[in-house]
Symmetry: C7
Subunit: 84 residues, 7 copies
């Protein structure tokens, strides 16, 4: 049975939207522009979701570099259920 | 006595259902599509189970890339007892 | 004085029962089928013990892959005192 | 599709302002003067934001060396919404 | 001045009793049978001491493999003051 | 644009005062005598600041070796605002 | 300006007293007998200081091997202010 390797999956996401669930409760949605072997990622048109005492806070960011070592799950083409 | 090596066991799971117990209390069930030497995994038809103050929450995801360094236990062909 | 090297000890356990005490309070008993250099282990006829608010929970699993980096102590041929 | 690699993105920031969100709740804004492969960074005209029981504290620093292994997100040309 | 290198010190302990203080509050006393470069250790005639809500619990184990990355201090020929 | 590399910046600090902010709330001011690739540092005429229930405690030390892996931020020629 | 490299500083301590401040609140004073590249250390005539609910506890140990990865600060020839 043919495998889909992790880095192949990420490579296919270049230019597409991706939902990233971090360790802890931070989540990020953005367009993947690039990544390296450590799965550090360059993302554009980003929304960062974070739980605060006042509820979930959404922050819009044009372009970010995300440290890969805090990523738990990546959902190609996905978005969180609570996203408008 | 013949050994079953860990990566051999995972390789045999390609295309099959697998139950993954993470460090912390998150659990994931899905079809294994591929993995790398760090046991990062590509999974399809995924259900992510997570304990929330309101009880256990199940989230359905089409396809995910799971970071291997948070995995505690993998159960080939298994599923959590609480799964309908 | 002849040494018993750690990997030698594990190798001798292939096919035998082994009691594994994890970091945190999870404990596992199973038959060791194989392992790799990181002491990731393939185990069969497994019972996973875990402390829950309702007391100690035992879960039976046919076959598992256990991540080695969370293992604290391994007891060849051993079993926890609370095991029936 | 052409990729933007993480280190390329940082390289383009040399001489520009950058907003850095650390693991935990510390944030830093400064002009990037240089970095190494571990994304340790030399920054000038720095403001360090930190949450204290008395609220958010801002500390001005001429020049700093920031340890890369605590960085979560980098926002080229960005600044925190609460910055005057 | 002649040095006593760490691995030399452990090597001299082969066949002797050793008291091991782990990170956290677990302590172990046993006869050292062998070790590897990561100071994973094979121990015999082991007593494992652990603090529980009901006080200090002692568990006797014939032979164990101890993961070296949780060891804080090793005391060749030593034993804890509370040991009968 | 010419870069200032992290190790270059530290090298320029040899013989000068430096303020080091550790992960957690410990801070250190001292004269940098030397360092290695892991940014372990030899410091002289050191003051170590630490928060205690009774308030901030300052400890004077002639010469220390500081483990680099706990350093968050280094401020060449800087000193904490609360320093007399 | 001539540097004093970290391992040089430790080398000069062989045979001398040294005060070691660990991550967490454990402190150790002893005579340094040897060390390796990971700054695991062999110490003699050791006093281990630890905070307990009943106050600071001092334990005398003849000879120990100290795991280097928990060391925060080393003070050649130093001793804690609270030491008699």
């Amino acid at each position: 049975m043919a495998q889909v390797l992790p880095l192949e999956l990420i490579d296919k996401c270049i230019g597409s939207r991706i939902w990233i669930i971090m360790k802890g409760d931070k989540e990020i949605v953005g367009t993947l522009k690039g990544f390296d072997d450590y799965v550090n990622m360059v993302l554009e048109d980003v929304i960062e979701y974070e739980m605060t005492p006042e509820g979930r806070r959404a922050t819009r960011l044009d372009e970010i570099l995300l440290n890969g070592n805090n990523v738990a799950i990546m959902v190609p083409g996905g978005q969180p259920p609570y996203m408008e």
